[in-house]
């Protein structure tokens, strides 16, 4: 395929793709006389409308996406994004709502926020939610700030946060951004938290344990009640990264099992589209004791209607402008309403069925480091293929030639050469079988014709890209022909 040029490369002076209505107020040229004015914007593109349309249409065609391709990216929950949710989120009554409009004139928006909070409370068993955080990582940060505020209220914020070695990288980073030192807890031979190590590490200096359940291996932390007991007995709090809630909806409520703070990813479990990397939403749920520290504003319902409460004396403060990624929340609410209680429970059941079907079909062909039962995802490694010099990256890139998106690679860190597969509940058996077939074929190629795998992809828009030189000699913007 011919490379689509950068828009700057096809720009030509004087071309236009848009016109504004003529200025209809009396013009006063002197107004800008004393302004610090800019010179011409050097290099800014000038193109016609058809050039814009072709440029972005062609670029879009180089992406693999859910709408075209099986996309088993582990820990990302790449499920189908229902189109009707886009339609309801594009209603003018939402798009034209100004965030500073008086509360009594945006009652519909406030009702949506409150309804969503109530649903998330019911789904998770927590006592209160904030919908403010813009993404999972911001949810973690907000959650840790709430924990810190709660412990300060109790008298001592403490210094350390415990995090299992299988956790997402955002966990330690969020804890650190909240002023905590991070200590790692080693996984046991089942891939779960080792109670003895936890018992030893859980001192009076520890503010919280951050767990992911099911963890990034797809394994349920079945000692959850004992874990909560140990953490709480020493005055700590238990944080749950809810990135993998898809496996548990309708079957397990973290709030019933000793979790004090949780963040969810609406763009994972609740199907709002990922948009190529955002916008998402990372609501945070807390138990009663911590609700006084939620970020402002908080939506409240009274007899006269909905209102925004800014007066929360022990709040951690504001964490972003306005009220979170509102349209993302609208889409997630639409998803919950269209599934209902049975549909929500079915998410967990079928995502776990699909994942186990893949696991069963590939076991023995790809190495499985941990043999504990898994839920919504499974993590294989390249151990067998490495004997032929083929690594996980080669397998991933070869999948592209089969028209499939690769799984998550090299994560979690506890599995060397990891291939983390999460099919989600929306895939058909046919698509699962195509993926399984491709994985088997690649294993065979790795043994028989490893060069084919190691030089993959062969059929993509670009072939394997040199990431090392990209980092060594960074070119981060167009600056004329380089």
């Amino acid at each position: 395929m011919i490379r689509e040029p950068l828009i700057f490369e096809i720009s030509a002076k004087g071309k236009r793709a848009f016109g504004l209505p003529k200025l209809d107020v009396p013009e006063d040229e002197a107004l800008i006389k004393d302004f610090p004015l800019r010179d011409e914007i050097r290099g800014f593109p000038e193109v016609s409308e058809i050039e814009v349309v072709r440029h972005f249409t062609r670029l879009s065609q180089t992406n693999y996406c859910i709408d075209t391709t099986f996309y088993p990216l582990g820990s990302c929950t790449m499920k189908y994004n229902p189109k009707v949710n886009e339609k309801v989120a594009a209603l003018e009554s939402f798009l034209l709502s100004h965030p500073y409009a008086p509360e009594e004139l945006v009652q519909g928006n406030l009702e949506i926020l409150k309804t969503m909070e109530d649903f998330l409370v019911e789904i998770t068993g927590m006592d209160a939610f904030t919908l403010q955080p813009s993404a999972g990582a911001q949810g973690e940060l907000v959650g840790m700030m709430i924990i810190r505020a709660c412990l300060e209220q109790r008298g001592n914020p403490r210094q350390i946060v415990l995090i299992p070695d299988s956790a997402h990288g955002t966990n330690p980073s969020s804890a650190h951004t909240c002023g905590y030192r991070v200590e790692e807890i080693k996984s046991n031979e089942k891939g779960t938290i080792d109670l003895t190590s936890l018992d030893r590490a859980m001192t009076e200096k520890v503010a919280a344990l951050m767990i992911t359940n099911p963890n990034t291996l797809g394994v349920f932390e079945s000692d959850i009640l004992k874990i909560a007991e140990i953490v709480h007995a020493r005055g700590g709090l238990l944080y749950m990264d809810g990135a993998n809630l898809n496996a548990l909806v309708g079957r397990f409520r973290p709030g019933d099992m000793g979790i004090d703070v949780i963040h969810l990813n609406l763009h994972k479990t609740f199907s709002t589209p990922h948009g190529g990397g955002g916008p998402g939403a990372g609501p945070v749920g807390v138990k009663k004791e911590l609700s006084a520290h939620l970020p402002i504003p908080v939506v409240v319902k009274s007899e006269t209607g909905y209102a925004l409460n800014l007066d929360l004396p022990r709040t951690i403060g504001r964490v972003r402008s306005f009220y979170g990624n509102f349209l993302v929340i609208v889409k997630a609410l639409a998803y919950i309403l269209s599934l209902g209680p049975e549909g929500l429970k079915e998410i967990a059941e079928i995502s776990v069925l699909n994942s186990n079907y893949i696991r069963k079909s590939l076991e023995g062909i790809y190495h499985l480091k941990y043999d504990a039962p898994t839920l919504h995802e499974c993590v294989f490694s390249d151990k067998y293929q490495k004997e032929h010099g083929v690594q996980n990256i080669d397998i991933a890139k070869r999948l592209i030639d089969f028209g499939l998106h690769p799984p998550t690679m090299s994560f979690p860190l506890v599995v060397h050469g990891a291939l983390m597969i999460e099919p989600t509940e929306t895939e058909s058996k046919r698509d699962l079988d195509i993926f399984i077939g491709a994985m088997k074929k690649i294993a065979q190629e790795a043994a028989e014709t490893p060069a084919v795998v190691k030089t993959a992809p062969h059929a993509s828009y670009v072939r394997r890209l040199d990431e090392t030189s990209a980092a060594r000699n960074p070119i981060l913007r167009w600056e004329g022909e380089i």
């Binding site: 107020v25 290099g43 972005f56 009554s93 034209l96 500073y100 928006n109 009702e111 402008s321």
Partner: protein, 448 residues
């Protein structure tokens, strides 16, 4: 509605392959004691027509959406060329993940690369990241970044910086031993240089101010920047209304070290405050301390040009607690809309848009401040927002405007106690002369 793709027969085949008789067996790894014994108390499933009807109904409770509005204050209504909606709603842009596999994500990556270039061109800076959440959290990230670079415990924050940005900065720095102090504004509405001189010292990591500022006044960034650099602090400029960059001298040409802001004006609807688009650009010397994803250009094994996410050794998935920020994904789809918006408008379109904002806002200011009992509050030059003081108070005027289907400006008393009876108005290219005249004559009707 169900989005499952398995037939009952297929389900049974898969269960047989797994050797299980019921789906419950898949969850036997959950101890019985922790499993939920009842159904969720969520309303029964809706079909598509029911769902649409339900949201249309709740949407009708947003009576503000149909009014003629002069609200701005960090969220602006601008034209959005139809191609922005058309192109950005393609499934290939809406439904992929972060471009971790560059060979099948060149569309997303090249868009980010173009976006980074446009942000650099507009702000006059060397490098841009792939975007952050919104203007407020981006301002907080900029302050944290300045602190990493300089390591001094104090930051000075202009009081004319958006109140929500100031609040978010306070939330972010609270647990990190950084102190924020406010710098006053003068009667012209500009940063008080005397106050700044008094407060800036050897312990100051950064000074952050906004232009046009929250009162709509365009700052003299050259002057502030010179003062900040005299004391070896970093100069951080926040731009809440980036449409102004179509006309105004870019912060990079005024000595800014970090430029951050809210990109909502570029093709994103008001949407009750989100999703929006935080942008950030800086001088290349600070690359290693820069937060967020960055796309870079490289070549494939055949020598063909391509793009990848790069410099990830700054990031959480590699560096964990030592990362420059905990941020993971950006607002890629919002950045896509901004990219299409800017490339469609081009330099001429963007300049014209900015110019019309200045003309129309000043026309509105002249109309309002020409009324008896209404005064222009600040003397500094304005872009598309301005503050008027109402001698007899705002409440009655506001009530009257609403009865006529108009949302006047934002009353500033609760945000700035010193600005009681002051109102912030925003006028952009979407307002016609008739709209502005209607505002002015409606205000006149209730004045004594």
């Amino acid at each position: 509605m169900s989005y499952i793709s398995l037939s009952d027969k297929e389900k049974k085949e898969m269960m047989a392959a797994l050797g299980i008789g019921s789906l419950d067996e898949l969850f036997s790894c959950l101890p019985a004691g922790v499993q939920l014994k009842r159904g969720l108390e969520i309303p029964p499933a809706l079909t598509e027509p029911e769902l649409i009807a339900r949201f249309e109904k709740v949407g009708r409770k947003n009576t503000a959406s149909g009014l003629l509005s002069f609200l701005g204050a960090g969220a602006y209504r601008h034209v959005i060329p139809y191609v922005v909606d058309y192109l950005s709603s393609r499934g290939e842009f809406v439904s992929p993940y972060t471009p971790y596999q560059p060979e099948v994500s060149q569309g997303t990556l090249q868009v980010i690369f173009e976006y980074q270039t446009l942000i650099c061109q507009l702000t006059g800076m060397d490098i841009s990241n792939a975007s952050l959440y919104d203007g407020a959290s981006a301002a907080a990230e900029a302050v944290l970044m300045a602190y990493r670079v300089r390591g001094k415990p104090k930051v000075l924050v202009a009081r004319s910086l958006h109140p929500q940005y100031r609040e978010v900065i306070r939330t972010y720095i609270k647990n990190l031993g950084i102190q924020a102090e406010e710098v006053a504004f003068t009667e012209s509405g500009e940063v008080d240089l005397k106050d700044l001189t008094r407060k800036i010292d050897a312990e100051t990591s950064a000074v952050i101010c906004q232009s046009p500022n929250f009162m709509g006044v365009i700052e003299d960034l050259d002057e502030i920047g010179a003062l900040v650099h005299e004391r070896q602090a970093l100069f951080v400029v926040a731009i809440a209304e980036p449409a102004s960059l179509g006309l105004l001298k870019p912060p990079g040409a005024c000595g800014a070290d970090i430029v951050t802001g809210e990109g909502q004006s570029f093709g994103l609807p008001l949407s009750f405050g989100g999703p929006y688009l935080g942008f950030m650009a800086c001088r290349k010397d600070f690359l290693r301390q820069f937060p967020g994803r960055i796309a870079g250009q490289t070549r494939d094994i055949d020598g063909k040009k391509g793009f990848v996410l790069t410099l990830s050794t700054r990031e959480q998935h590699i560096r964990r607690e030592k990362a420059t920020s905990n941020i993971c994904t950006n607002q890629a789809w919002c950045a896509l809309r901004a990219t299409i918006f800017l490339e469609t408008l081009g330099p001429t379109g963007l300049r014209e848009l900015a110019y019309q904002n200045v003309q129309k806002a000043n026309y509105a200011l002249a109309r309002l401040s020409g009324l008896k009992g209404v005064r222009k509050k600040f003397s500094g030059p304005i872009f598309n927002e301005f503050v008027c003081e109402f001698d007899a108070g705002w409440e009655r005027v506001d009530e009257h405007l609403r009865s006529k289907g108009i949302l006047g400006g934002l009353s500033l008393g609760s945000l700035y106690p010193e600005l009681k009876d002051c109102v912030l108005f925003c006028v952009t290219e979407v307002h016609t002369r008739e709209d502005i005249d209607r505002l002015a004559s409606s205000v006149a009707e209730v004045l004594p």
